[in-house]
Amino acid sequence: MTEKLANTPGAAPVRGPRNLIFEAGAPESRCVEAPALDVPLTAVDDLLGGRARTTAPALPSVTEIDIMRHYSHLASMNFGVDSGMYPLGSCTMKYNPRVNELACRLPGFAGIHPYQPEETVQGALELMVGLADALAEISGLPGVTLQPAAGAHGELTALMVIRAAHTARGDARKKVIIPDTAHGTNPASVTMCGYETVTILSDEKGQVDVEALKAALDEDVAAFMLTNPNTVGLFDENIVEITEAVHAVGAYAYCDGANLNAILGKARPGDMGFDAMHINLHKTFSTPHGGGGPGAGPICVSEELAGFLPGPLPVEFEDGSFGLGWPEHTIGRVRSFYGNFGVIVRAFAYVRALGGEGLKEVAEQAVLSANYLKCKLEGAFDVPYGRTCMHEFVMSGSRQKREHGVRTLDMAKRLLDYGFHPPTIYFPLLVEEAMMIEPTETEPLAALDAFAEVMLTIADEVARDPELVKAAPYTTPVRRLDEAGAARNPDLRWKPAGE
């Protein structure tokens, strides 16, 4: 039926009964207990003013070995970057260096409290300033905040900064323009910032339709949000004309920095005329995805916007010491404390490991690897934008759908059997049956060749035996799920018997 590669997740798939942590252990089981009381404790309910808990929460009662067995078992069912390649377009799933993990766990970083006096955390503040300065240099935009906890959070923060800038000059505006290729967080952030979303269509080359943009721009537009390189993997050649048109109506140009990996050291959004951008540390700067987070989404803004940034921000004083300060016209806070410091430490370590030259090599190899794969695959699959791509390219499964009734989803599931995570699918919305492929620079050539070979094998399987592909995957720990059932009758938590 199918061949399993040695590194297929769950190469010995666990098919036996699987339990929840609540079902392990016994009521008497213990792992970590409270220390013996060295001070008296009486009349707890009086101390609590009549609030004492009447029924204990039904948390697991397990031993340490129960925990390790259970979570090791769960880990064995998981695919990670350490397991194999994730060619996920716009996610930049590069390798997560181990020295970064060591760094964030150092007691001098992990064990400090945000309200400690500044003189006791000079190293932490210096590190934050160091990363902020590096991001300013890389982006070409001098005003930086490391506060946002995620890319989406960064987008929203930047829109708030833009709103404050317009309000400060008595020029409040109502709309934000996005292209139809925009990531869903863009319009969602626009709404959260009290603006109306206006969508313009891309041209046949997958770039911004400059005439459509100019027609949509007026003095009610606060900003234009663009990902560049864009979400079909192309650098928009008209970028300067675009940002100039945006500025001409007094609006700001925002760069969604998800695809920064393609242009590190080769081009800077600030130089393109962007006024603000967010950077995904968990994409471009190698911090781990953690199964969904935490990431970080620092934003870099122009001199003009810097005074509106959220605070507090780490700053370096003239005497070389470090502290926290507030921008002059700050919008306020967008979260508690200073930022996802543990993630910031990892990104700082990455930047210091690579240096400027190293970052440029990252972009060069990322772009070369993507073009290499595109060349290998463009015979078997439709590639709508055939010209040289940047760090990612988009393919369409429409030929396979048309000729054999097999969809991109089916081919993605079949990839799992061969030990690869699928590419990004069904995004951008512009391309039918889209597959967006981004290998990143950290994949060995052997992995790229293996991926290409597997994709061609699957294309072949689609033609010879479409039903095989449509029922994939076969060798993963679980097979295709009843997602409709999950949404119709949501079961979102375990309940003890009797609840």
Partner: protein, 127 residues
Amino acid sequence: MAHPNDRVYSKEHEWVVADGDIATIGISSFAQDQLGEVVYVDLPSEGDSLSAGDSFGEIESVKSVSELFAPVSGEVVEVNSALSDSPETVNSDPHGDGWMIKLRMEDAGELSALLSAEDYDAFITEG
């Protein structure tokens, strides 16, 4: 596969069966096929007033949401509450048990602006 000709259709893929001044409304077989497995239908309440073209609710599949648009104007007199337990009925029987709302029509003349089954089939083929 032709759509039944005992009813009329809108370009937003709703159908209407009129019985006196009561219009029963649902979505077409083509629409449910495009949506995939329906997981949730969000419908208005009895007594709500709708104008032709108004959104009267939403229909969700696992990975998409679509709005439902009133093909005619009127007051909602009945809502198919069975769909909250069994939204999949929209897939299995879109023209029968998968009905969504009944309206008391303000102006039955609005029906003439809708498409016959033949015209609707042509519309979805060319689109």
